[in-house]
Symmetry: C3
Subunit: 384 residues, 3 copies
C-alpha cells in the first residue's frame, strides 16, 4: 500500500530538465575620429556574455514551467513562468516573467539567432505579465496577446508604484506557403506586432549598439519625458532549403511631455545560407526560426587506426545583415546609424557554435557625421 501511494505520488511529480548555455565573446574595435567624438574610445574586450542555468518541465501533461537565470554578471532572472495548455478557445495561458509577444527577432532564442546580437533598439524583452497564445505544431498561424507591467530595472522582476505602467502587446503570424513534404525547407512567413505602453515614471529612452554587446552605444536618445508610446512591427521571411531571407520594420510613436508625438524607427534585412546544405528549421509553435541547425556531420579530428587523421567538418553558414536605426525625430536627436554585418558561423555539433563577425557602422548625430566604427568579434557558444 505504501508503495502504491509512493508510485501514485511519483506519477504526479513535475518533471525537471536541467540545462544551460554559455557564450564567450571577444571583440576588437577600430574607429575614426568622428566615432571617438561620438561614443568615446571603444576598448577591446573579452567577456562571458551569457551564462544561463535552465530548469524546466511539465506538470500533469497540460502545464509547463520554466525557471531560468543568468549568472554572467551577478544573477538575473530570465524566463520564470507557468504555461497552462490545451485550454478551449485560447489554447495556452502563461503567467510569470517572459518575453512580450513582439518581433520575430526577439522571439528567436539567442542560441538560435543567426547573428550574435539582435538588431532593434525597440525590443521589449521580458516583463511580468499574463499572455494568451497559440502553441500548435501543425498550424500555419500563431498568435500571442498579453498584459504586462514594466519592471523597475534596478531590481526586476518587481514593480511598485501607484502610477500605471502597464502594456498591452500582441503578435500575429501567418504562413501563406509551407512545404509540408520537406518539413518546412520552403516557406513564406508574414507577421505583425503591436504594443501600447503606459509609462508610470514618465521616462523613456531608446539606444542601440552596433550589433555587439561589448561595443558602446552609438545611437541614444537619452532620457526624455513621455507618458506613453506605441510600438508597431512588420515581419516577412522566406526560406528555401539552406537559404533564409528575413526582414522586420519597427516603428515607435511616443507621447512626449514636451514636444507632443515624436517618432522613431528601425529596420533590418538579412540573408543566410548554410554552405554544407543543412537548414535552420522553422518553428510553427512560435512563428520563428527557433530550431537548431543539426550538422550532417559533426566536427571531430581523431587519429584513425591506420595512423591518419580522421575529420568531420561540422556545418558552415554565411550571413549578411543590413540594419538602420533612426532615433532622431523632430525634437529629439538620438542619431541615425547604418550597419553592415557579415557573419561566418561554424556549427561543430548541434550544441556548439563558433561565430566570426565583422560589423561596419556609420553614425550621424549632433556631435559628428560619418562616425565609422568597425567591430571584429568572435563567440564560442554552447548549450546543453
Amino acid at each position: 500500500k505504501e508503495d502504491a501511494k509512493a508510485a501514485a505520488k511519483a506519477a504526479l511529480k513535475p518533471s525537471v530538465n536541467v540545462g544551460g548555455r554559455f557564450f564567450l565573446d571577444s571583440a576588437v574595435f577600430s574607429q575614426n575620429q568622428q566615432s571617438v567624438d561620438q561614443v568615446g574610445d571603444a576598448e577591446n574586450a573579452i567577456k562571458l556574455r551569457t551564462c544561463w542555468v535552465e530548469l524546466k518541465g511539465n506538470v500533469l501533461e497540460n502545464t509547463q514551467y520554466r525557471l531560468w537565470f543568468d549568472l554572467s554578471s551577478q544573477v538575473s532572472l530570465l524566463d520564470v513562468y507557468l504555461d497552462f495548455g490545451e485550454l478551449p478557445y485560447i489554447q495556452n495561458f502563461r503567467i510569470g516573467h517572459f518575453f512580450e509577444p513582439f518581433s520575430m527577432q526577439q522571439l528567436t532564442p539567442n542560441k538560435y539567432l543567426t547573428f550574435m546580437e539582435r538588431s532593434s533598439p525597440f525590443l521589449l524583452g521580458r516583463d511580468l505579465g499574463v499572455m494568451a497564445h497559440s502553441d500548435n505544431a501543425d498550424a500555419n498561424w500563431t498568435y500571442g496577446i498579453g498584459l504586462f507591467v514594466s519592471e523597475q530595472s534596478n531590481k526586476p522582476p518587481f514593480y511598485q508604484s501607484d502610477e500605471d505602467s502597464s502594456a498591452i502587446t500582441g503578435r500575429f503570424t501567418y504562413l501563406p506557403w509551407y512545404d509540408e513534404a520537406s518539413d518546412g525547407r520552403g516557406l513564406i512567413h508574414f507577421g505583425v506586432g503591436y504594443s501600447w505602453r503606459h509609462l508610470g515614471d514618465k521616462k523613456l529612452r531608446f539606444r542601440n549598439r552596433p550589433d555587439s554587446a561589448l561595443a558602446p552605444f552609438i545611437v541614444d536618445t537619452g532620457n526624455f519625458a513621455a507618458t506613453a508610446y506605441n510600438l508597431a512591427g512588420l515581419e516577412a521571411a522566406y526560406a528555401y532549403g539552406s537559404f533564409i531571407m528575413q526582414s522586420e520594420y519597427h516603428y515607435v510613436s511616443a507621447d512626449t511631455v514636451d514636444f507632443g508625438a515624436e517618432s522613431f524607427d528601425h529596420y533590418y534585412i538579412q540573408a543566410s545560407y548554410v554552405l554544407t546544405g543543412e537548414n535552420r528549421p522553422y518553428n510553427r509553435r512560435s512563428g520563428s526560426f527557433s530550431n537548431r541547425i543539426v550538422p550532417y556531420e559533426n566536427f571531430f579530428r581523431v587519429r584513425t587506426a591506420d595512423g591518419c587523421i580522421g575529420r568531420g567538418r561540422g556545418a558552415w553558414e554565411i550571413a549578411y545583415r543590413y540594419a538602420h536605426d533612426n532615433l532622431t525625430s523632430d525634437n529629439i536627436f538620438g542619431g541615425r546609424d547604418y550597419r553592415h554585418l557579415v557573419s561566418l558561423n561554424w556549427y561543430l555539433s548541434p550544441f556548439t557554435r563558433a561565430m566570426f563577425e565583422y560589423d561596419f557602422s556609420q553614425t550621424n548625430d549632433p556631435v559628428a557625421s560619418h562616425g565609422d566604427l568597425h567591430v571584429f568579434q568572435m563567440r564560442m557558444q554552447f548549450d546543453f
Copy 2:
C-alpha cells in the same frame, strides 16, 4: 573489473533531486489618513516574491543534505545543511544553515502555509548552527534543540566578531490524539518552544507587515540597545477532516541596556476548511501541517471528443486568521496592530495554487490611532 569498480562507486554516490518553487504576488492597498501618517503611502505592487532552486538528496542511506537558494532579489542562501540520521539517543543531528526549531508557523514550509505570509514578528528564520532533533514518522511527539549563531544580515551566512552572538533554541510537540485509521484526518496538537538569545552587537529590533510581503511595516520598535532576549511560544492545533484550527502565542522579554526588561507579544488564531473535501495532512516528522493538499480532481479545461468542454475543478479552501502584535512595552513604543485576514485558495494541482486574500489591519502607535490599512492580494504559486 573496471565496471565493477564503477558500479560500486555509483552505488555510493549521493542522490541529487533538483526542485524549485516560485510565487508571483500582486497587491493593491487602501488606507485611511491615519495609516498614511503612520507608514506612508502603501503603493500597489507586483513582484516575484519567491524564486527558489532546491538541490537535495541522500548519502549512504543515513545522511541527507540540502542546498537551497533564492533568486528573487539577488541571491540568498536558504537551507544548506547536512542531516545525519539513525543515531542512538538523539535520532538526528543537523549542521549548517537552517530554521531554528521554534514555532509551528515557522516550521511549515512557505509552499504549504494556509496564508501567503506568516504572522509573527518574532520568527527566528534560518541561522548557522547545529541541532539534535527527532525524525520519526510514527511517533506522537517531536523534539528539536540546537545551538545557533545570529548572522550578520548584510552577508549571511557569516558571523565574525569576538562578541558572543549565540542562541539556544528548542521545541517540543505532542499529539494527545491522532487518528491512525484515517492517517491523521483527526488530531490534537500541542507544542512549546523557547529560545535564549545573546546579542553580540547589542542591537535589537522587531517589526511586522500586515500579512503581505509587499506592504510597508505597520509596527516597528526601531533599533534599541539590548544585551539578550528570551522568546517563548505556545502552540495548539485541532484537525478534523477538512477543518483545521491552529493558534500560537509568542512572548519576548528583552534585557535592554536603557530600561531593564521590556516585553512584547504576538498571537494568532486561524481556521481553514477545504470545501472540496480534501485535507491538509499533518507531518509527524516535523510536528506541523507540512504536506500538500492533493486535489481529488486536478483542474483542467479541455475540448472533449463530442465538442463540449470537460472540466476539473481542483480543490478549494477558505481560511480566516486573526492576529495581534503588541510591540509597545513600558518604554519602547513600536505600536499595536489587530489584523483580520480572509483567504480563498484554489489548488489547481498538488503543485499549483492560486491565492486570493483580503487583509484589514488597524494600528495604534505614537503617531496615530486607528490607522486602517486594507490589502487585496493575489499569488500564483508553483513548486516542482
Copy 3:
C-alpha cells in the same frame, strides 16, 4: 518515424550531471601584541566558506563542459568551459574560464586538499582563456599550456581595455616511478610550471593569510606599479601507501615601474598519513592527488537488533605542513611569515569530511617582529 527522430535527437543530447559542495568553517584566533599591531584584531568567525553548484556533462563523447558557480557570498562563476578531447597532437583543447595550469596545489580541487586552504600567495586562480593539455589516464606525464587574460576583479569574467593584460602559462609533470600493480599506492612526482604575465593596469599586489580563509592577511605588499611579472614553480611529491609527502617552490620576479626587478618567493612542505590505512589516489590525468579517500568503513552509529550500538569509524588522517612566504624584496616590504599547520581529518564517508586544524604563524614586517597568530579552526565538508 516521430519516435525514431526523437530517439536520434535524445542520443545527441548533452548529458547533465548536477552536483555541488559546501564547507562550513569556524575559527578561533589568539594573537600576541605584535600580531595585533601588524594585522589588527583577528575576530572569531563562522562562515559558509564554499557553496558550489556544479553542472557538467559530455557532448558527443569527445567534448566535456562545466558550468560551476559559487553562492557563498553573492554569486561568482568558477569553471565555465568547453573541453574538446581526442584531438591529434595536442590531445585536449579547452576554452572558457578555468584554472591556469600552474602548481599542483592549485590544480588539486579544494574538496581533495589535505588542508583547508592552499598555502601560496602566488596562485593564479581561474581566468578566461584557451589551453591545450593532456588528459591521459595511463601516461606517466602531463602537460598544459595556455593563453589567458587577467580579469577585472570587480566583475569577472570580464576584461575590457586596450591595454594588454594577457598571460602565457604552462606546466609539465613527470612520474619517474609509478607502481601500476597497486594503482599508484607508490609513486614519485616531479613538476615544473611557468607563467609570464603582462599587467594591463600596471598594478600588482601579493598577500596571504595564515592557512585560514577567516583570518586577516598577515603579509601584504600592497599595490605597487609593475608592467609584468614572471612566476616559476617546482613540484615534488612522494607517495607510499597511506603516506604522502609533497613540496612546492614558487618564485616571482616582477618588473616594477619604480625599482626595476623585484623578487618574492614561497615554499611549503607537507606530509600526511591515513591512520586507517586508506590512501589518497593520484590522478594521472591532472598530475595531482585529485581523488577521494574512500574509507574502508563509513562512519555510522546505529542501534543494532540486540540493543547495542553498532559503529563504523570512517577514515582518519593526520597531516603537517610547514610554509614560508617572503614578500619582502629590496624595495617592497610585504613581510615574511613562517607557518606550522597541523591537521586531523575525519572522513565520515567518501563525500563527508570533518577537519580540525591548528596553525601557528610568525610574521616579521616593518611594523613588528615576531607577530604570533594562532588559529584553531574546524570545517564540515560535503560534496555531491
